[in-house]
């Protein structure tokens, strides 16, 4: 038994080292000066934060970070609000055709977003939303996965509570705000973490709808850097990489339990 535990630990450590190696490697490179990078060292002789300073001074890193933050927060709020409103209607309001509409919501999950990107680009262009946070966020506000996730949770709230509130003359919207939302904190947090992560990491859409330095998000910023900078500036590029993965890694580690439960629920139910 003892031996078995030791071998499990050895395997765990080995796997963790392999999985984390690229991140650690990037961090190590970000602390090196250009000459050392070219010599192909694994660890910096004299670690310095010079590259991080350069990342902010030579490229508009702050603008990129702010844009990404605003867009990710907008999408997060939009998805939580729209998903919870829709889920509330599916659970608590009875009307004809509800089942059909729910099926149609689920059906939207079958449409690969890439199959619709050309007309969507033209729509955003005609709305004058190119290079704006609206063009980057509004198309993603409606989310079937989020509606489905919250619907599962809302269904666990006793329907009698809703009926009681109706008899007491409490409006639907107040019941939604004062009862349904507060007891559904966990899946709402799950959805928020999921929304923020996926939006922050979005690549293809921001690539299409932004073409100015002022509007770019971090992901496109790093693409620009990588294609513009010469190879000797890998240190700065890696510093930028570390800067853009920190927010999502922190969020992932903080919300990991929630996220895992939420995603698994989607898988199993």
């Amino acid at each position: 038994m003892r031996l078995r535990n030791i071998s499990v630990y050895v395997l765990l450590v080995l796997c963790a080292v392999v999985m984390l190696f690229p991140i650690a490697y990037a961090f190590s490179i970000s602390l090196m000066d250009g000459k050392e990078v070219l010599q192909g060292h694994l660890l910096p002789r004299e670690p310095s934060l010079e590259n991080y300073v350069a990342a902010f001074e030579r490229i508009p890193m702050m603008t990129y970070l702010l844009n990404s933050l605003i867009v990710a927060l907008l999408v997060m709020i939009g998805q939580v609000v729209l998903s919870s409103l829709a889920a509330f209607a599916f659970v608590f309001i009875d009307f004809k055709g509800k089942g059909l509409i729910f099926m149609l919501f689920l059906a939207t999950m079958m449409v690969p977003w890439e199959a619709t990107m050309v007309p969507n680009f033209l729509t955003i262009q005609s709305l004058g939303w190119l290079n704006s946070v609206w063009g980057l966020s509004v198309p993603f506000f409606a989310l079937a996965f989020g509606t489905f996730l919250l619907r599962q949770q809302f269904k666990t709230i006793p329907y009698e509570m809703y009926e009681a509130s109706q008899i007491a003359g409490i409006s639907r919207f107040r019941f939604f705000c004062n009862v349904v939302l507060p007891v559904s904190k966990t899946p709402i947090v799950t959805l928020s973490v999921y929304s923020f992560l996926t939006t922050w990491n979005m690549y293809l859409w921001p690539l299409l709808v932004t073409n100015t330095e002022q509007a770019r998000t971090v992901q496109i910023g790093i693409k620009q850097m990588q294609s513009n900078e010469v190879a000797s500036d890998w240190g700065v590029v890696m510093a930028a990489v570390i800067l853009i993965i920190i927010p999502t890694l922190v969020l992932l580690f903080a919300g990991q339990k929630h996220l895992q439960e939420g995603l698994t629920q989607g898988a199993i139910k």
């Binding site: 963790a16 729209l82 998903s83 690969p112 890439e114 199959a115 992901q219 890696m238 895992q260």
Partner: protein
């Protein structure tokens, strides 16, 4: 607070449909504008020759489709897509399953390992691709330095048509392990512990338990992860754009990258739309397959 009057009750019931739709309307409007309309528009445009702005000029019927099916470039992109799927999906699931089994052991300090194994879920495709691009660098990257250290000659990982798809796939497997691991771990944790307890009493070995309990009980989650991974693999774009730009000689020109190039670089919107429709059909079939499998699972229970 007054007791509700019957008149008000009737009014409430009448307004149920209206208020239900009111709550649903933001989602319905946005789905309409950014999903249903563009999907129908894509199908429509796939039958037209268009100008560079996507304005239809001339009806060409299935012209774009028949051109695609006879074009070597299109088959090359199908081949790249299928190759990419086969290289990434099974390997990702296998590795993530191994990690999930390890991380599901009841040992001290497991939280750290779970965090480490799920880390790539927090990493964007762009950031990860930049890191892998450096690792694949022919002169200073870790892979070639390792090869040189053991006396082998270096490889042009991203520029050699023989290696490019493999290199991009390997990077992708790493990127996707985090998400796959998290879902599989969740599936493992949902398995009834008492099954293992009775197996322990019966004295069955770890491997027998794995084969007889774990894998069958995990199979719905495995199916789910399989289909999601398959669909995601079909939609790959970022790592291709950053690492190879579809090259060398179109070896990594997967379908979404081909659509992007046709629509936004060659301004051939009609052909891009036809490819988008084919992508949609492929994903539709895969999702339908998933529903069929879920249905079967429900029947068996």
């Amino acid at each position: 607070m007054t007791v509700a009057l019957p008149r008000e009750k009737v009014r409430t019931r009448l307004s149920d449909a209206a208020s239900g739709l009111l709550y649903l309307s933001p989602s319905i409007v946005l789905f309409g504008v950014f999903l249903v309309y563009p999907l129908l528009r894509t199908i429509y445009l796939s039958f037209f020759r268009t100008d560079t702005q996507g304005t239809p000029l001339e009806f060409v019927g299935v012209g774009h489709y028949s051109t695609l099916f006879t074009s070597a470039a299109f088959w090359q992109s199908i081949q790249a897509t299928v190759g990419f799927v086969l290289l990434t999906v099974p390997l990702t699931i296998l590795i993530a399953l191994g990690l999930a089994l390890l991380a599901n052991e009841k040992l001290k300090g497991m939280g750290i390992f779970r965090t480490a194994f799920s880390a790539t879920m927090g990493m964007s495709v762009a950031a990860s691709s930049v890191i892998w691009m450096f690792m694949y660098n022919p002169s200073i990257g870790i892979f070639n330095r390792f090869l040189e250290a053991v006396g082998a000659s270096g490889v042009q990982w991203l520029l050699d048509p023989q290696y490019a798809l493999l290199s991009v796939s390997l990077a992708t497997v790493w990127m996707n392990i985090g998400f796959t691991f998290l879902i599989l771990l969740g599936g493992l944790q949902n398995i009834d512990r008492t099954l293992y307890e009775s197996a322990d009493i019966a004295g069955t070995s770890y491997w027998t338990q794995l084969r007889a309990i774990t894998i069958p009980m995990l199979s719905p989650t495995l199916f789910f992860v399989g289909i999601i991974s398959l669909i995601n693999a079909f939609q790959t774009f970022g790592q291709i754009d950053l690492l190879t730009k579809g090259g060398p000689t179109n070896a990594t020109n997967v379908i979404v990258y081909a659509i992007y190039k046709d629509a936004f670089i060659n301004y051939n919107v009609g052909s891009a739309s036809a490819q988008a429709v084919l992508l949609f059909i492929a994903v539709l079939l895969l999702t339908w397959l998933q529903f069929k499998l879920v249905e079967r699972k429900v029947h068996y229970q």
